[in-house]
């Protein structure tokens, strides 16, 4: 029974999605399947047939980084980088469900993604900044 993660990395050769624990604990393999954040290591590939799949490769558009990616760069939200694709996917999912999260909501949204480098502070800052920037952009486009 192939896992969605195997299809993404080995068949589609999209290696931005990482395998960490392989048992749904660490979130390194997070992708968005039919609009929902999932651990691709726990999804049987057969259940993704016909589904819309968004991996880290599909977060930036052309040369323009997503606001979450920009803020991870700006705030130092990435260190070794192995958790970062999954962290970004979880953050993108959170901001879609909850565009103005407080710190507790950010921590809840990222609760399934483990990082062993940063201590999470700068990751939380990154997501908070991405949310603020999205609000600014929306206000600028209105004015």
């Amino acid at each position: 029974m192939a896992r969605l993660l195997d299809v993404i990395r080995e068949d589609l050769e999209l290696t931005g999605t990482k395998e960490g624990c392989g048992e749904g604990e660490c979130g390194a393999c997070s992708v968005i399947l039919n609009g929902k954040l999932v651990n691709s290591c726990l999804v049987p590939a057969v259940q993704a047939e016909g589904a819309e799949l968004r991996t880290i490769e599909g977060v930036a558009s052309d040369e323009q980084l997503h606001s979450v990616q920009e803020s991870f760069l700006h705030c130092g939200g990435a260190q070794c980088g192995i958790c970062t694709p999954g962290m970004v996917m979880a953050a993108v999912d959170l901001l879609k469900r909850c565009p103005h999260p407080d710190e507790a909501q950010i921590r809840d949204g990222l609760a399934g993604n483990l990082c062993r480098c940063t201590g999470y502070g700068k990751i939380v800052d990154s997501v908070a900044q991405a949310a603020e920037r999205a609000i600014q952009v929306a206000e600028e486009s209105r004015s």
């Binding site: 392989g22 749904g24 726990l42 049987p44 979880a90 959170l94 809840d108």
Partner: protein, 295 residues
């Protein structure tokens, strides 16, 4: 960690009847597969003693939360995320929302299902205490027909259930609370997120004319199966709220320590589980008294 993964067969029925026919034709040969959050872990580790899977994920007949004036009925494939965000469940059955909230994190909650949580049979699962507290019932269906089983009778031993090999869980039903009621849920784990329970406790109480008219206490991780603490329930039920003082609560805590059957394992010890269960019960009863006196 990835183990040696055996070859396997996955069959995807397109209707519930189609699924039941396969289970009936080859009893015990097919393992139902829903969101995969439990099975895929064991499968990838190469330790799952099954090689034929019946993929239920696409069966819309097993989805949807239906409400009537008396009950809430959750399709077997209802996910934790759907429970978390359902306004009526949040308003009337808050323990269910809390137990969904503390099961894994968002990526698990989008895939894990209520029936999967039950059928997997783990005594450490977090929705069972809430289902026990609310007196839930489980609908089991086979080609021969369907039956409703009180959830408190569903688990017969460690990872053993009353389900026949040809049956599937189709719905879980909970009655909507009436009157002046109180809800309490507490999971005790190593961390707030992504930890499996050392102890999980959910309670539902209803007060009438100054007495505790109904009191149910569901517990996880303290016995081979999710269990109701029946001796403790009987002590509390019928009591005048005025009489639920410190001395009474101390007695109830002792009763609960006798009610449960915890073990030492990788997550905790039996003595810690007894102690923390009693302390959480104390907190629960104090909050309940305060709540009912306020009403």
């Amino acid at each position: 960690m990835r183990g040696q993964v055996p070859g396997c067969t996955v069959h995807t029925p397109t209707t519930l009847i189609g699924a039941l026919e396969i289970l009936f034709a080859e009893k015990g040969a097919w393992r139902p597969l829903a969101g995969g959050t439990d099975l895929m872990v064991l499968f990838a580790a190469g330790v799952l003693p099954f090689s034929r899977f019946l993929n239920l994920w696409g069966l819309d007949e097993l989805r949807g939360i239906e409400t009537t004036s008396d009950s809430v009925s959750l399709g077997a494939l209802t996910t934790y995320a759907e429970i978390r965000t359902h306004p009526l469940i949040a308003a009337e059955l808050p323990n269910l929302v809390q137990s969904a909230w503390v099961t894994g994190a968002m990526a698990i909650q989008n895939r894990g299902t209520l029936a999967g949580n039950i059928a997997n049979g783990s005594p450490a699962a977090d929705t069972p205490p809430s289902l026990l507290a609310y007196g839930a019932e489980v609908q089991l269906q086979s080609l021969a027909g369907s039956r409703w089983v009180p959830y408190e009778n569903f688990h017969t031993g460690y990872k053993q259930t009353v389900m026949l090999p040809e049956e599937l869980i189709t719905r879980i039903r909970v009655w909507r609370p009436k009157g002046d009621n109180f809800h309490f849920f507490r999971k005790v784990g190593t961390r707030k997120a992504q930890a499996i329970s050392k102890v999980c406790l959910a309670a539902y109480a209803r007060a009438e004319e100054g007495r505790v008219a109904e009191f149910r206490l569901g517990m996880g991780s303290v016995a081979p199966v999710p269990m109701r603490a029946l001796t403790t329930e009987m002590l509390v039920q019928g009591q005048a709220i005025e009489e639920l003082d410190g001395q009474f609560i101390a007695g109830a805590k002792l009763a609960l320590m006798e009610d449960i059957r915890p073990i030492d394992d990788i997550r905790s010890t039996a003595s810690y589980r007894r102690k923390v269960s009693a302390n959480v019960l104390g907190q629960l009863l104090e909050e309940m008294v305060e709540r009912f006196k306020r009403a």
